[in-house]
Symmetry: C2
Subunit: 447 residues, 2 copies
């Protein structure tokens, strides 16, 4: 019996008879030849039935087999540089064909353009399409790269809770659920505060799980449910944090380039833009970014563009600002030292400039914008308490968090990387909703 | 300057001067000697200050430094088989000591026995204790082993949604949250149905994320929020599923043995019970399990035990049944072919025995009980629809799930492994709440 192989292994089987288990992605019939493009979950390969080489019933089956039918295809692997597929360059000369299930109805997703609502309604089928398959394979590689880099650099994976009691920064963007006799539990927007407890036991930690924002944002950069990795590091200041981030991001991108070349080709991604992603990354202060934006606005001739770029010190960046800034660099750019009032209460004040905090965001190039937000955290219990009072947060709910600064406090820093934003950038796609298998947006919770 | 190292690297630095960054776990003063047990997140090591070897102010600092103060300790590494610590066998002769923060208040958790409620209220500090640190280090290794094995065996990591529309099997054990204009969204109890969509695009997939059960169970085996890994496999029947499971579980256990020996010693774990965990695992049918239980009940002399073991064909196993069964084996045991009525609607019926389904649970030895539930899934659209009607489930909500059986259906199987139950068993601990950093139970959502 021929060995059952995966399409991604096909280069190792040239000249041998193999069996593929998969689905009919496309079919072309030209006289005595039938071409079946078979996908098996690991790739796409052209399989050819030539009428004089196979029994008549096998040829007939190949001529008529409907799209998406499940099959076992047996045949001999040939190298052929013209053969389509992913990775491509190989075809299988069919010697046997067995149908597992012949599809009886019309498959809803033909290999043509469909409207996005239709595709999202059929997401359970749309993921079979080559481009969606490629994106989600890249996503899995990004996840593995994230975990491998952290695990290999002394980080301990700690899963922080999703169901949390206190609403740290107001409840308007939080999902809540009744929790037995304990009132309402909120779905966590971050594991950071818990990770700050964890570093005192493990030094370097990360959580990597789903995160929830009940925000009414309807942009191509927002999901209500997304995955975030949040590393937190003891004995680490803002400069070391930026070093860690640039090493981390570069590793992820280079690993995708190494392992997911065929998938990037499916997406038509310009890989030279990814090859440039190596340390160090440029670092500019918020002050400098504000000056650059002022200059861009001054130079803009289009009044609409001038208005979009309008910026004053103290504002947070909007999407047009991020886009304009990232277009000045061909690598991700760090912007550090944001105004205290646009950032969270736990960020360490800049020495001698209390209106500025030791925060740093990382903006992805090509207009993709923010993929990381991070900071050095306040390590003094007195300063932390002062900020909690300043922002009128409930001190009682933060008691355990304040205690971390009383029992062996150390300088520490951390960041959060949005998985889907990172995948969207690496894939070079338009909309974040394709970077997760079953996206959740304010209008969509099905399937 | 001495290199900064982690305690887990100490064996590589014998005879050299190094710096450790960490916290004072314990302190003993005997005349001219002070012993500091330092923990740095990666281990625990004894550091010794001898009055004549260090400046007077360093010795004084060592004599008085409070528990949990953060410090930089510099000194020369010596091998000494008697030295306590984790891994142990090394000590550091202090040459310099720098305090980052001297703790000013009494640390709440002294190194003595505390009540469990007190410890859980102080979970943010309790995780610093050696036993808790060891358990959570083992947990992180279990997670990595799970992911490495799956990633290396052709599984693609797919994150399934937490916020889901349909309540598949009733809403009584579900947490729900208002979701914009879309009604109530429920927190998923499983990613399985979505993974069944995913296998048709990726062949083998897994999800690994938090899972929620609003069950009023208050046992040592239940959490309301726990992590579960759920592999799903195309072209796989029940026998192949059991082969995959026994390879997978054995790999996890052997990897923990290899990488977490010192942590298992901290917990006093009998590692010989873990060394036995190699394939194959015994397989017994539900029918045979029922007979074994009947016999055990008949042989039991204690009337209370006899009553606890009482069992009739058709029942699901309770905790006493699982304990009694697992005590007959020194490896995990598969029990397959449960009655249809105690299992979920999507399980493939046993050929010729519609009252039995192609399900299989894996019970861990030493009385730990169920860690895996799995089955072959129904692949026929007609049979699936029949079961949905039989169980009076809303057909409309399952439309997409039924479609999977129409467009290229294949035999497929999958399972779910509870992370915390697995960690509890491997660590040999009593209660599941210690197998996660911040446990959630029906009475606890803080900190």
């Amino acid at each position: 019996m021929a060995p059952i192989i995966r399409v991604e292994q096909i280069a190792d089987y040239v000249g041998q008879e193999v069996t593929l288990r998969g689905w009919v992605y496309n079919r072309t019939h030209k006289g005595k030849l039938v071409f079946l493009l078979i996908r098996d979950g690991y790739g796409f390969v052209q399989c050819v039935a030539f009428s004089k080489d196979v029994p008549a019933e096998v040829f007939e089956m190949a001529v008529h087999i409907p799209q998406e039918s499940s099959v076992l295809v047996t045949g001999v692997v040939r190298a052929d540089p013209r053969a389509p597929g992913v990775p491509g360059g190989y075809e299988v000369g069919i010697t046997g064909l067995e149908t597992v299930q012949a599809v009886a109805e019309d498959y809803p997703i033909a290999l043509k353009e469909h409207g996005v609502d239709f595709l999202l309604d059929n997401r359970h089928l749309w993921i079979r399409t080559q481009s969606q398959w490629a994106i989600l394979r890249i996503r899995a590689t990004v996840i593995r790269a994230i975990r491998d880099w952290l695990d290999d650099h002394g980080f301990t994976n700690m899963d922080t809770p999703i169901l949390t009691p206190a609403a740290c920064e107001g409840t308007t963007t939080l999902f809540g659920t009744p929790y037995f006799d304990e009132g309402i539990a909120y779905l966590a927007q971050s594991g950071q505060l818990y990770n700050e407890a964890n570093i005192f036991a493990f030094s370097r930690v990360y959580c990597f799980g789903p995160t929830f924002r009940a925000e009414k944002s309807k942009t191509r950069r927002h999901l209500t449910e997304f995955w975030m990795v949040e590393p937190e590091i003891a004995f680490c200041d803002l400069d070391e944090l930026m070093e860690i981030e640039e090493q981390f991001i570069s590793y992820i991108v280079q690993r995708v380039l190494k392992e997911r070349g065929p998938e990037l080709r499916v997406l038509g991604r310009d890989t030279s833009a990814l090859e440039r992603i190596t340390p160090p990354f440029p670092r500019i202060s918020y002050d400098e970014a504000a000056e650059r934006l002022a200059q861009l606005a001054a130079e803009a001739e289009d009044p609409e563009q001038k208005a979009l770029l309008a910026f004053e010190w103290g504002m947070d960046f909007g999407s047009p600002h991020e886009t304009a800034l990232t277009q000045q660099f061909d690598k991700p750019v760090f912007v550090y030292g944001y105004p205290t009032k646009v950032k969270a209460f736990y960020m360490e004040p800049w020495p001698g400039r209390p209106e500025v905090c030791k925060s740093v965001d990382l903006l992805a190039p090509e207009g993709y914008g923010e993929i990381i937000g991070g900071s050095e955290r306040i390590s003094s219990p007195e300063v932390l308490l002062e900020h909690i009072h300043r922002d009128k947060l409930p001190e009682e709910a933060f008691q355990w968090y304040i205690e971390l600064r009383k029992f062996g406090s150390v300088p520490h820093s951390g960041f959060g990387l949005g998985l889907e934003r990172t995948v969207t950038w690496i894939c070079g796609i338009e909309h974040i909703r394709e970077a997760i298998a079953f996206p959740r947006t304010i209008k969509r919770i099905y399937p």
